[in-house]
Symmetry: C2
Subunit: 217 residues, 2 copies
């Protein structure tokens, strides 16, 4: 229900807009809205500045479009958490999906991180309504699981915060991670997944169940 604007566009328009958005993601994720320039975006997509402004009315417009175009995809894994599923599997799956996004879409991650870091001027509304509502629902599911004794007693909200923080850390702060750990990316994310799997298992299981899943290396 997102990319509505693509309806009556010619081939050439669709192509150019897509090109611009890709380049814009590149530039915005590296520099942020305010210090990204139209010239940089223009260079990145091989168009001229006025040509870009023929397709988008302003820099802010491009930024808004890019951000919004990615939003649904960004929140998608959250929707996949099913109250019908096995609690720990669902939450491990969510963590893995988020970690995968950090690996495969670091630019998107940085774009959102930068936006929120600077006060989320364009998204505060969405955060406080749409995201919040979805999260409330999922937290209710977690509370239900806890009350059924299927999950150790945890705060759903803080659980989500920590999953977001830990998974996105590998994308947003990759410079720091790589300065400290000079592994290749595959190895790094493999380690991260093992670490976070272990962490969540310990966090969500009852101690008696834990002995089973704790493996000594």
């Amino acid at each position: 229900m997102n990319a509505v604007a693509n309806k009556n566009l010619s081939r050439i328009q669709r192509e150019k807009r897509s090109k611009i958005q890709k380049a814009a993601l590149e530039v915005f994720s590296e520099y942020g809205l305010r210090s990204a320039t139209l010239d940089k975006i223009a260079t990145a997509c091989g168009l001229t500045k006025p040509n870009i402004l023929y397709y988008y009315s302003s820099k802010d417009q491009i930024y808004f479009e890019v951000l919004n175009g990615l939003l649904d995809e960004w929140v998608a894994p959250l929707h996949k958490i099913s109250k019908e599923g096995e609690p720990i599997d669902e939450l491990l799956g969510y963590m893995k999906a988020k970690l995968k996004m950090s690996k495969q879409k670091p630019k998107e991650s940085k774009l959102f991180a930068n936006e929120i870091l600077h006060g989320a001027p364009l998204m505060q509304n969405i955060l406080a309504t749409s995201l919040r509502q979805t999260l409330d629902e999922k937290v209710a599911v977690i509370d239900h699981w806890v009350s059924e004794g299927k999950l150790a007693n945890v705060s759903g909200y803080h659980l989500f915060f920590s999953i977001w923080a830990m998974t996105q850390h590998y994308a947003d702060f990759d410079v720091q991670v790589k300065a400290i750990l000079d592994k290749n990316e595959d190895e790094l994310f493999q380690e991260a997944e093992e670490y976070l799997t272990n962490l969540l298992l310990r966090m969500l299981s009852f101690p008696t169940e834990l002995t089973v899943s704790t493996k000594s290396s």
Copy 2:
């Protein structure tokens, strides 16, 4: 061993420089280096732009000074981790110190977050040498504790990454946190500390020890 430059400064110089740095932290943490302006800093500290440039040779110079002036303080809690102490206490203490900094120094946290998010142009060197060395040492301590059976088997590096990520999340992404959880700050950080204490206890303890520290609400 940091604030060396304050040596031969007059009272008036020390005062003004301090004023400027405070205002600069304010502005840089909100806007980042590139989109912070000297005018904003000038307004924030009640000086004129040329007057600021009388004390610092350039905007970049101010940024560098602020960042460096905060670095030692920022890494300090890491140094306090003592191999003589009780492993879990030491690591819980570290987490609490970091969380406290997120609560009391969110601007500093955002400043560093922004710097690293955009590639750490001014700090990459420090990250890869000084921070990395310190962290290597502390990870060695953790490995030692693990080999002595005083700590569950965890990757020290990923443990630190996750502590950083989870604690700083409450400062760096406070807009998002507050959009979802409308508690007051004290309450929020109290909850976070309980959650993270529980998380670390579960992560670092052996399952048999866990039953003791797991309290049901």
